[in-house]
């Protein structure tokens, strides 16, 4: 019963925060709404009997990845308001229509393949016997040991790649073939310039 209430409290927050994130005009607001969404997903993982992924979701996504996002937002400037749409008027409409089509397609595919089962989920306690972390480790290190090792190589390559991208070569041209960024207008000219 508790999971029923937890689901119906969390699910609207999850979907609404996702919609608000997509429509947000300020990048910082979008990042914070994404954190809310990550936390609701962590709650879903807990309902579904996976406390390990609950903790990893909060540490990796809400912790590390969002800090990285906010760091880059601060680096690029937080005060700019991003317009929702500018030149292309038809693009948002087409995107929403395509999204509705995607929902219909996935729901139809799921309906045909497994159907909307209303039966109660089976007991997970035997699978999680001895603790979720222990059971997960048994599967991970027995059946998926090689992919696990490959992810370590992936992480090292990603770190080296980020370092190579982020460094600045000595004497490198700062910008290419774009005009110099417009100087910040004086506060008095702000009203007339726009």
């Amino acid at each position: 019963m508790a999971d029923w209430y937890a689901f119906w409290v969390t699910a609207p927050i999850s979907v609404l925060s996702a919609v608000a994130m997509v429509l947000a005009r300020n990048a910082v607001h979008a990042a914070l709404l994404l954190v809310v969404n990550f936390f609701t997903l962590a709650v879903f993982f807990l309902i579904l009997g996976s406390p390990f992924l609950f903790v990893v979701q909060i540490i990796v996504y809400a912790g590390a990845i969002m800090v990285l996002f906010l760091f880059v937002i601060m680096l690029l400037g937080v005060d700019q308001v991003i317009p929702l749409r500018d030149q292309m008027k038809a693009q948002p409409v087409a995107a929403v229509l395509l999204g509705a089509g995607l929902i219909a397609e996935i729901v139809l595919a799921v309906r045909i393949s497994i159907g909307f089962s209303h039966k109660v989920l089976p007991d997970f306690r035997s699978v999680n016997a001895g603790g979720n972390v222990q059971a997960l480790a048994k599967v991970l290190f027995n059946s998926y040991f090689f992919p696990f090792e490959v992810t370590s190589i992936l992480l090292i390559v990603a770190a080296i790649g980020a370092m190579l991208h982020g460094r600045r070569k000595i004497g490198e041209e700062e910008t290419i073939d774009v005009p110099e960024p417009a100087p910040i207008p004086a506060p008095a000219a702000e009203g007339t310039a726009r």
Partner: protein, 101 residues
């Protein structure tokens, strides 16, 4: 456990679609990237829900791998966005048209 798996799958589909629409309508590279994260998370939710339904922990292992790959992807992607911003003074994807024929 009264909540059927289909409820979680519906939430997953909605989140994935919102992420897709976000990728299509936003022009700022950072917001597109956040929408991609949303899509990845929606798929993780579906994986964990199926893992629960089938009583098999492989889905959770796969969700764990997808989190690792998402972390690596975020690191490289944000580095690319920063270097793009450094070159063009804008994180707008429409400005990154150097490869256009």
């Amino acid at each position: 456990m009264r909540t059927p798996i289909s409820y979680f799958l519906v939430v997953s589909v909605l989140l994935f679609t919102v992420g897709t629409v976000g990728v299509l309508i936003r022009k700022n590279a950072l917001l597109i990237f956040m929408s991609v994260e949303l899509q990845l998370n929606a798929v993780n939710l579906a994986l964990v829900a199926f893992s629960r339904q089938l009583g098999n922990l492989t889905g959770q292992v796969l969700a764990f791998f997808s989190m690792v790959v998402a972390a690596a992807e975020v690191v490289v992607g944000l580095a690319i966005i920063v270097s793009l911003y450094r070159k063009r003074r804008s994180a707008d994807v429409d400005d990154a048209s150097l490869l256009r024929g």
